[in-house]
Structure formats: C-alpha cells, structure tokens
Symmetry: C2
Subunit: 396 residues, 2 copies
C-alpha cells in the first residue's frame, strides 16, 4: 500500500506522451492508479490523468518524488535518468524495465550485446565523435570511410544512427563518402552506429512481454511500414510465409528471454535477402503494438501493466482475420475537430487521438480497422486517417 | 468551441458513478473531453476524470456551471433536476437524452405512455400515496386490493414499484393482501406502479442508440439474469429462438423510434408465456450493455458519446460467438487488491473495476469473458468475479 492509503496498485510512468496516455487508458478499467511524471513540453497524458507530477525525465528529485508514491516505476520513453533509476533499484524499488534492460536502448550497446550473444544483427561499427578533438574526428572519419568501403551499398552509401536520443526517423542519416567528412566534422552527440543501407524486402515487429515471475507471452508478428523513417502503418498478420513468421516470433522470444526484459519489449526486424536481422529493440510499449488494443485478446498496454505488477499475463491471439493500424500524422488541422469526418468514412474504425497540438510530421493519433482481408483494411484505415487531418469545412 | 478554448468536443456528465467512469474511459481514445458533475458521495468517475465539478444532481447552479463549459450535457443516472435541464433546453443547450425522454424514466409516466402507444406492457395501476391524508391512503389501499383481486398470482401477491428513485432492486416490493394495509400506511414517496408478479421464463434487454440526425443502431439482444432484483449476469447472445430474438430487437427499435430518444436507450423485456412485455427502459448506458465493451464492434459507451455529439454511429455486431458479463458485487474485500487472483483464474478475462469502496450488495465492477459457448463463459466469468471479491490471503 502506498502512502496515499489507496488499496489500488499504483504505477508511476516517467514521461507524459501518448504511450503514458494509453497506459492510463488501459489502467482505468483494471482499477490501477496511474501517476505520470510529465515534462513541461509533454502532451498526451495530462488531459486524462488525474495525478500528474511536473518534472523532466532527467530530474533526479522529480523521479524520486514519483517513486515515493507508487508501487512500480515504468517509462513512456527511454530518455530518462538511468542513474537515478539504478539508485532506486538498489534501494529495492520495483523499476521495470530494469536499468540493465533500459541500457539496451543505447543502440551501440544494443548492437554489441546482441552480436556477443550471437543474435542476428546487421554488420555495424560504433564511431565516437562526440565533442572530440580534431584528432578524434579524423579517426572517426577514417573508421567511417573504412566501414563504407566494406559495407557501402551499390551507390556507396551507409546509414549512421545516433546511439541515443533518436526517434521517428530523427537521429538517422544516409551518407556517402563525399558527405561523410562534413557530417563527422559537424556532428555532436552520442556515439554513432554505422550500418549498411540494406536492401529490405520488408520490416517486421514482434511484441513480447514478460513478468518478473518469468511468465512470457508473444503476439503474432506484424509488418511495419515506415515513411520518412517513421512508422506509418502496421499490418496484422504480417504478409509473410508462415515459416518466416514463426522464425520471427522465435527470435522475438529469444531476445526477450536472453535480455531478461520485464514488461513489453518491441523487437523490430529487417527482412533482407529472406533473412531476419534485428534492427532495434524498444523495452516498452511501442507504435507497432497499438493495433493490439482492438485486434488482440490482450492489448500491449494492459499487458505491460500486468507484467510490471507481476500479475498473470493475458492471451495474445488475434480476434479478427486482419487488422491494420494507420498513424494520424500532424498537419495544421486538429483531428480532435474531425472525428465525425473520420468515422463517416468507416463507422467501424477505432479512432485514437493523443491530445497533442498539431505540428507537421507529429504523431497525433492512430486508427485501427479490422476486417476479413489486409488490403481492404489498409485502404480504409488510410482514408480514415486522412479525413482526421484534412481541413474540415466546418472547422472550428 | 467551449470557453476553455479547446478544439476537442466536451461532454458534460451529471453524476459521477461507474457509468460516468466508463463514458470517460471511452472518451479518452476518441479525443473527447469529459467533465463530470459529481455529488459528495459519488464514487467511480473522480479517480480517472481530470475535470470534476462538485455538486448534487438536483443543484440548479451546479448543473448550470457544468452546462456553461461543455458542448453537450448527458447523464450518469436519471435522478437529476429535470426542471433545470428543461430550462437549458429552452435556451438552446444540447441536452441528451432530452427532458421528454428523461421523464419516461418515471415508471408511472412510462407505463401510461407505452400503453397509450399500444406497446406491450404488463397490466398495471398507478397508485398515489405520497404524504397523503388518511382518506388518500384508504383510497390507495382500495385501489391496490382491487388490482390484487384482478391480477394477483396464485399466491395472491402483486408487485409494487416506486415510480421514481428506485434502482438495483431498491424501491420494489412483493406484497399480498395481508401486507398491503401496513405497507400503504407506511409508504411515503413517488406514486406506486402496481403490476402482476409475472411468471417469467427469462428477461432480455435490447440496447439501442440514436443520434439527433436520426441514425439508429441496435445491438443483438442479450439475456439478463437478476439476483435479488439486481442484474448479476448478462449473456450474449440471448439463448432464445431466433424468432423471439428478432421480435425483441424489433420491439427495442420501435421503443427507440417512438420515443425519439437520443443516446443509448436500454429496453428491459420480460418473456412470459412466450410473449414479450416491456419491463422498463433506461434512457442511458446500462448494466446490460457493459458486455458490449469487448464483445461488440462498438461499445455502448463509445456509441452514447458518438450519439450525443451527433457523430456517425458504429456497427454493433458481436465479435465472438459467446460473451458473458458477471457483476462484481461488494463484500468486505476490495477487488482492487485482488486483480491478480481474478486473472489467475482465467487470464483472458476482461476485468473492470469502478473505484468504489466495498459495501455488501454494491456493484464494484464487472468481468466479461468471451469464448465459443455461453456455458463455459458463464462458469468462467462467475469464478473470476468471485475471486475478485474473495478475501485474499495476502490482502493488504
């Protein structure tokens, strides 16, 4: 029992974006109290969560204030103060995902760890540039050019990713030999992970969950469609041969078990040359799992809460032959004024809006459509999402 | 746009119980803002709704404060100040259900109206006792004894119901000729509706919705099982011949259309001698519709919000062959400490808790189980509900 005296379990979420919001939406029916630590510029959770503490995700005191009034600490995003969480862990506070798992969201550490484990990852190199000296930069450029010579694609290009802080296509660059010197010269930030610009057949994602008691559940594999580096669409089931789907699920489960992750874990996979490679993981609920809210017996949000509270996990089977999620991506028109227009396109659409101020390329919501076949669902979900951001005639 | 300047539509709910709570749960994904007017002793909504105004449902000023900051006014229960709502309507405020529809929740007015419309209702008499004189009481007793002579069952008993203010079995009495004099002598309150103690095969409920533009949707008919006058279980689909199911749906739709009700309308039906009779209606979301949250393409809570906002309504088809809702009824153990025990019984159960302090015979939540057959769902849902209120070994 927490100091509030409430008998209801209390989960604290660091970060107040749409993932915290959807965790709160899943918590309410279950009689779980959610308390959110929201930064000044966070939008999403505060509209619908009664207990919001103000504080940045790297504010040690704020994290401690949250931890003091909850049973479990979890996250909306990984860019939090890991050091404070490690202190809390050592004091016996339940922090899920664990700091060890959270550290895997550093792409450099993740690639090295998975490579050491023998898990399938693309060829990679880690290059430290940081705020280094001219010598450091010269060394980093040499290393990058060597990687490009060995792994550049037919156009002589490679991919560079910031190992921390990137999301939705930010922190990812495609570079050739001519561009590398200026890029390395200007770059400041976390070490870079270099990888080949792979020729991808498609991308998959496996969502999996584990509780501290060791129970695990894995959802059916989904296909993710990226536009400009941001997830645009999720297709369930993935349109791949059954053998590949099973291989993906087995790989997702292996990552879950080898990392010992608790809560929901998203494993994003490349399919290249018919082979699976781990693109990256996210130790939390994930855009690729929003479709589970309606399309699976247990949603990723409910499952994450059940996992971090060490409750029995729920079944993950699909409840419809096909389901597609389409993101609602910001423009100038606010989808919160356009729901009727969206539902008029397809009254069976499941509309999810995040309460965020519209900005170009900002995720403002998503739409899930279920049906008999994937293609109809794709067309419908895209049309509903478009109507939600179209400038309405009667716009307020 | 409301005075808050928010672009999101704002729905105001008078009353802060579990129906307001579940309306808020449905509102969050849709980007609808909910504001609740909660009385001092209301529990359910305040835990999860950010904007709660304090005020009784018969407090004119409080209702006006709510109406001033919302786009639409709706209700958690019917025991509100209809006069104030009528004033608001005349001033052009959107109030759904309308006051005309709300007045039908007076059981005397409802029976008379339906009888005049030629809709099937049980034989009835309305008896006014109130705070009347000895003469009034003598007249009421005479009238009651006459009704008993004509409509008493084989044991010489009839049913008396308070026309307003009753719920969950409260305000309902079963009486014989020997008991009537003392009962009438003691009774104070709204007029009584007398009806036969019918020999019921079973009870059904039809949920229907209508928006101000006139679009309607009706859910598949469900069977309701009452214990001590309180809904205990809801079974979807109702285990009745298809012809009777279709007749029930047609009757539900007829009530919706004849009353011109807007929002969700619950029509509770008796099946007696193979015939359908209207027991009573509730012009709002209803316990018999909680199963729709998971078991139908659109839940009654989302539909009600869409209806009162005059948005397109959603499809109502079942998404599983069978679904059963079992109420979680209060005892001393708080189900908010027992979720893991409930989910351990059946991890696929959908647990809904209302954030209410446990008291004997108080509805604290409900459980929905879906599956292939009704009997398995019934057994499972009952077991999960029982585990949620069992005194846990590790109770906190």
């Amino acid at each position: 029992m927490t100091e509030s005296g409430s008998v209801a379990p209390v989960v604290g979420v660091i970060g107040g974006g749409q993932l915290a919001r959807m965790l709160a939406e899943a918590a309410a029916p279950l009689g779980i109290t959610i308390k959110v630590l929201a930064a000044a510029n966070d939008e999403g959770a505060s509209d619908i969560v009664v207990d919001v503490l103000s504080g940045a995700p790297d504010d040690r005191d704020a994290i401690r204030r949250l931890a003091a009034i909850v049973d479990v600490v979890t996250i909306d995003h990984e860019n939090v103060d890991w050091q404070t969480l490690a202190e809390l862990e050592s004091e016996g506070v339940a922090v899920w995902p664990s700091v060890e798992t959270l550290r895997l969201s550093d792409k450099a550490h993740q690639r090295r760890t998975f490579a050491e484990m023998g898990l399938p990852v693309p060829p990679f190199a880690v290059v430290s540039v940081g705020q280094g000296s001219a010598d450091d930069r010269a060394g980093a450029l040499d290393q990058s050019l060597t990687f490009l010579t060995e792994h550049g694609n037919s156009d002589g290009r490679i991919v560079a990713k910031a190992s921390r802080g990137g999301y939705d296509g930010r922190g990812v660059w495609i570079l050739d030999a001519a561009e590398l010197p200026a890029f390395i010269d200007d770059y400041q930030g976390a070490p870079l992970v270099l990888e080949p610009l792979l020729d991808l057949e498609l991308e998959l994602a496996v969502l999996a969950a584990r509780n501290p008691s060791g129970e695990t559940r894995v959802w059916p594999v989904v296909e993710t469609v990226q536009v400009d580096g941001m997830c645009d669409e999720v297709i369930m089931p993935a349109q791949v041969p059954e053998a590949l789907a099973q291989q993906a699920i087995a790989l997702g489960r292996e990552v879950l078990e080898r990392t010992g992750s608790v809560g929901v874990l998203a494993v994003e996979l490349f399919v290249s040359g018919g082979e699976l490679l781990i693109n990256e993981i996210a130790p939390r609920v994930h855009n690729s799992g929003h479709v589970t809210i309606e399309a699976n017996q247990t949603s990723q949000f409910e499952q994450h809460l059940r996992a971090v509270l060490d409750w029995p996990l729920g079944p993950t089977e699909c409840v419809a032959p096909a389901a597609v999620m389409h993101n609602v991506v910001g423009d100038t028109s606010d989808p919160r004024a356009n729901q009727a227009a969206g539902l008029a396109i397809f009254p069976g659409a499941h509309v999810h809006l995040y309460g965020k101020t519209p900005r170009p390329a900002r995720k403002l919501g998503h739409v899930t459509v279920m049906g008999e076949d994937v293609e109809t669902c794709r067309t419908t979900a895209e049309a509903v999402a478009a109507a939600l951001t179209a400038q309405a005639k009667g716009s307020r």
